[in-house]
Amino acid sequence: MAGGILVIAEHLDGKVAPSTLELIAAATSLRVERHGVRLVVFGHGVKELADHLAGYTVDVLVAEHPLLAEYTGDAYVQAVRGIVESTNPRLVLIAHTAQGYDLAPALAGAMDLPVLTNCLAIDLQEGRLVAARRILNEKVHVEVEVRSDRPIVVTMRPGATPPQGTGRGTMSVTEVPVSIDPAAVRVKFVRMERPEVADIDLSSADVIVSAGRGIQKKENLRLVEEFAKAIGGVVGASRPLTDLEWLPKTRQVGQSGKTVRPKLYVACGISGAMQHIAGMKDAGLILAINTDPTAPIFEVAHVGFVANVLELLPAVLKELRAG
């Protein structure tokens, strides 16, 4: 059974995380000498989900246990460990999501395995894994390599790989035994808290004007609001602003906030951290205003204005009124 790539599926409320399909695509594009790619679905009552995933050109293993009904780091580390030990894969692929960065490093620490996280692309070459990453606020690209005779735990950044599509027919679904020592599951699930729906719903807006740290002061939000009003939009924000409570959490665009696809997205003074871009990159037209021409927001924007947003917006408002 040794070799190959083990992909860990992620799911919540009976739905597969989109990142899981990206992992399958990343795994199948690698040159794997033996035994190919296997996707493992951990959970309780997830057989149906596993059958569905077998449609994505990958063999599926189902590992069911009552203690896996809700994710906890302790139970998952034990369960994944069992399968890694019995299958001894070359790579264990996990999404770089909140669940992934809870699980992957803890698994690697507990099993004394190498780990590389938040990778954009990976390549298995003669005896080594080469991974491409972005560092220093996305401003530097780095390739790193790991050589090991042990399984390497890798997390891939969501959105970095196009997702795997379904193929013709379905692949095998095999149930695999899981043993979990309940005494060693020290982390207990208590409850899930869902955001209260109040305020405006960003995800249904056609035009969003988002403010970032570049607006410098809370008072300057008025300027952004005025501009949004002039173009029929609503105001969103990057994470630092909702952390500062300048705007409610419901206005946050990004991985930990809302994912939006408006017709127009204007990023005002937002540098474009990965967590923000994940939430807005699919907007129809993206305009960005930032003083730093190397800011990563300009990579996803269609048109970029290299300017101080506090100077440009008043001038634009004047233009719009004059017109």
Partner: protein, 279 residues
């Protein structure tokens, strides 16, 4: 130092906590970076360094837990001498003791090695709760906390936004995608990675800054951890940096530069052309 001995000898409150906070010093991420000629690191001359953003929230959470439940906060870093001002700032903000693991690699790209050294250092410190930031602003691995937990066999929770301490255990809220939060309970000792915005970090008062300037910083070398040198730390792999390079953008905006009035005209024109201007 005398004060500390007296307080530890006096009866402790019901849940006095030994808190260890891992701090990382990072180059200010708002800077521009250039790749060093050998392609193995960024050019580090003239960079200014600061405490990692998420770690500030981890420190604040620890100091608040100490204020509420009693206990001590030890801040721990891995890095060269330049990290000392960061440790002093943490002392001024309420940490009781600062420890620097004298691992002087200015780049320290290998998160697995860093975490193994940190874990070895934490083993030498009393710890009911270890706190780290969720992610570093420089390398963005989000792996140090989880690795340390795994290596030390501690239960852990990640992306934590709220911490409540009960008699026997902790209840914490972990942020997931899309605004969901998963609340979990876990026993102590434990490790938590703290999310940005979990609290409002305090400013250090001036007298505390003056006092911190005179406080000793404990230094841990490899010998203190039973190692002949840092390279003797056992690793199940070989790690290498292949090369650093400026990012190749997948796409790029058409960039408008020049005087503000001209940029404003272009932006207004674009908004009109695309039909976004309300009349």
């Amino acid at each position: 130092m005398e004060n500390l001995e007296i307080s530890s000898a006096s009866p402790a409150p019901a849940v006095a906590l030994n808190l260890v906070v891992c701090l990382k010093q990072v180059p200010n991420p708002d800077l521009q970076f250039q790749v060093a000629p050998d392609g193995k690191d960024i050019k580090r001359e003239g960079l200014n360094y600061k405490v990692n953003g998420a770690d500030e929230y981890a420190l604040e959470e620890a100091v608040r837990l100490k204020e509420k439940h009693g206990g001590r906060v030890v801040v721990l870093t891995l890095g060269p001498k330049r990290t000392e001002p960061m440790l002093r700032e943490a002392l001024a903000k309420g940490a009781d003791e600062a420890v620097r693991v004298a691992y002087d690699d200015p780049a320290a790209f290998d998160v697995g090695k860093n975490a193994r050294i940190l874990a070895a250092a934490i083993r030498t410190l009393p710890h009911d709760l270890v706190l780290t930031g969720v992610q570093s602003d420089d390398y963005a691995y989000s792996a140090t906390g989880g690795l340390v937990a795994g290596l030390l066999g501690l239960p852990h929770a990640s992306v934590v936004t709220r911490v409540a301490v009960h008699d026997g255990d902790l209840e914490v809220a972990c942020e997931l995608e899309g605004g969901l939060e998963r609340v979990v309970a876990l026993p102590r000792p434990a490790l938590l990675t703290i999310q940005f915005g979990a609290n409002t970090p305090r400013y250090a008062p001036l007298p505390a800054i003056m006092k911190a300037a005179r406080q000793p910083i404990k230094e841990i070398g490899p010998a203190a951890l039973g190692l002949p040198g840092w390279d003797a730390i056992p690793l199940p792999y070989a790690f290498g940096v292949v090369r650093l390079s400026p990012p190749v953008a997948k796409g790029h905006a058409e960039l408008i530069t020049g005087p503000i009035p001209e940029q404003a005209k272009k932006l207004a024109q674009l908004l009109r052309e695309k039909g976004f201007v309300r009349r």
